[in-house]
Symmetry: C2
Subunit: 387 residues, 2 copies
Amino acid sequence: MMRNRSQYFSVKKRRISKSRPRQSAGIKEIAAKLNVSIGTVDRALHGRPGIKPETAAKVLKTAEALGYRPNVAARLLKLNRRLVISVHLPSEIAAFFDLLRSSIVEAAGPFDSSVELRFRTYPTLEEGDVEAFEKALREHVDGIIMAPGNPRKLQPLIAQASERGVPVVCVATDAPATERLASVSADAHVGGAMAAELLTRCVRESGPVLVLTGNLRVVDHTEKLRGFSERLNAMQSALHVVPVLETHDHPAEADRKTRESIARYPDLKAVYVTTANSLPVLDALERTGHLGKVSIVTTDLFPALAPYIRSGAVLASIYQRPQTQGRVAFEALYRYLTERKVPPRVYPLPPHLVMQSNLDLFLDLQAMGYEKAEGAMLMKANARARS
Amino acid sequence: MMRNRSQYFSVKKRRISKSRPRQSAGIKEIAAKLNVSIGTVDRALHGRPGIKPETAAKVLKTAEALGYRPNVAARLLKLNRRLVISVHLPSEIAAFFDLLRSSIVEAAGPFDSSVELRFRTYPTLEEGDVEAFEKALREHVDGIIMAPGNPRKLQPLIAQASERGVPVVCVATDAPATERLASVSADAHVGGAMAAELLTRCVRESGPVLVLTGNLRVVDHTEKLRGFSERLNAMQSALHVVPVLETHDHPAEADRKTRESIARYPDLKAVYVTTANSLPVLDALERTGHLGKVSIVTTDLFPALAPYIRSGAVLASIYQRPQTQGRVAFEALYRYLTERKVPPRVYPLPPHLVMQSNLDLFLDLQAMGYEKAEGAMLMKANARARS
DNA sequence: TTGAAAGCGGTACCAC
DNA sequence: GTGGTACCGCTTTCAA
């Protein structure tokens, strides 16, 4: 098929603003001013060996005085090397990680000709991240974005990467106490607290609240619990937490444990599900006639959850913003690689509250993300077919 | 003062990944394959005159076949021209617009050497936007980001800009039915609806709810009202709206009208303030002993509002995310200018709900924004001093 | 209608 | 330790 000309995005003729071509001096100007060669200036600016310290100092001073700013385009052109960024994410919980992946592609768009993304995908958060990391290290990538499912095992590998100058950015969940450059995820503590605040405000009678989580060894999950309990206390809530259930993201386990709890606490007033594995819980509640009677807060957003929110059966869902996570992670890494700009060690994103009033807006935004993902995948496929 | 060497962000030596220098063919490869000159290829690719249609077609076909992607760095380097983006924002409601401004600077960071931002600032939303626009047009800027305070008067100017190929992106509020390229703002309708949903869920008794707005001619404000009323109806809320008050963002007017309403509706159950002008309202409620008795939802976030949220006097504030607006607006405009990528006509951002549980997180994020703003301003000042 | 060549601002290599 | 220069891919100008 014929590609439209405009796709090459020519910067067509346009009435030009008379802005000076350059604001600041280039390396030539510095060289001229000091009567040295541009080679010398380059050496000084980059701290390369083979230059007299005094000369270097002089150059640096003049550079400062002239307000020297390197021309990124020229550098990129000359080096003519693409930064290779390795992205390690599981396929499991596709509703979350597909959007995370596509948002990275999207964020990398403007830097398309200077960045190469290498996606490594493995079945679940827990299995495959270590292997992916090792492989990336062997391939000498320039940077890594990953969801650390096994922080313990990854710790030495991240240290090794750091030593070699390969920055690592964590998404979705953190690997604290490692040498990662930064960590980007929805603030789990705040997310739990928001669930507690909402339930406290909306539930009128006192009674037990059931909390279902994935795995208490995952930092993200324990943080949510902590935030949840602390806020219940702080607000002197009428709700009290009964023993927390781990579902290990198994639908069957979630179903069974939910039913047991319903039987044990007939006066259940509320439910908080801290992972995206909420459907079996909702199912169990529905079948036992509790839907609409207990107040429910879930986590994340996917098509099957929408009807429950729309009907009001689910009060709200704590949305962890996969698309924002992907964008922020990419930008942090890119700016570190290109500008050596060190990002904050953690980016705690405020979770969104998806409710009846904003559900459709969130669904639309997700749909946009999927479209872009498809577009991106198509491009990739085409590129592969061509080469 | 001596600037650190690392600030020139040298891309230091790094173990290089053996990724091919280029993925896709360049214009040379195309030329070689067809035995034409690169000049011819260039003409074809950009639809420039002076080329036989058949030749052009052939080139285009080969470009497609080889998967040609232009090298952005090379183009930028050759053109060596900075895109001039004019940013028109009021200083009024500084808490909002300062963050908006700084987020644009921040977003433009990576494109520093290919973009020049020209800020035009005027006292209030209503006065000065037209003049700023005219000035920008005279200066032949490449694109405009603006908060349209006078959509009517701006309409012909935006049309003129569009005709000249100067894209305009609206932020904060929209100028619908104009030739703007895109509009980025918090979804006002959804914002109003969220306020209604929250109040409906949290207020236990039926009664009147007072709504204070800025100016009913501003689209943003009427949309909030519509969203608010519709959701009250949809939820069969126990609350009913009493006649809406316009405060025109005058503290005194807000104070007076609030007090009158308190007197008129002694059984007031809730208050919704749709603009950032909520302090006088809160003051009036406090002095008449209503604080803590009525449920309150406000708009936006600024330091003076924080204590009210922290204490629970204000249930929540609808946060319109100035920093996100700025970033999204810049990115949309930049990608249009450089890639001719046409953005969605509207970007309706979901507003955030700032409550007790996430207040501190939002305050932190705002503080980060301010720091960056200061940094950016300093840089600007330095640059000016130098030249 | 087409071709050839000059450069944009850096980086890297080789010669001195 | 320093200077000179080729070259990255593209746009543009001038010549044919």
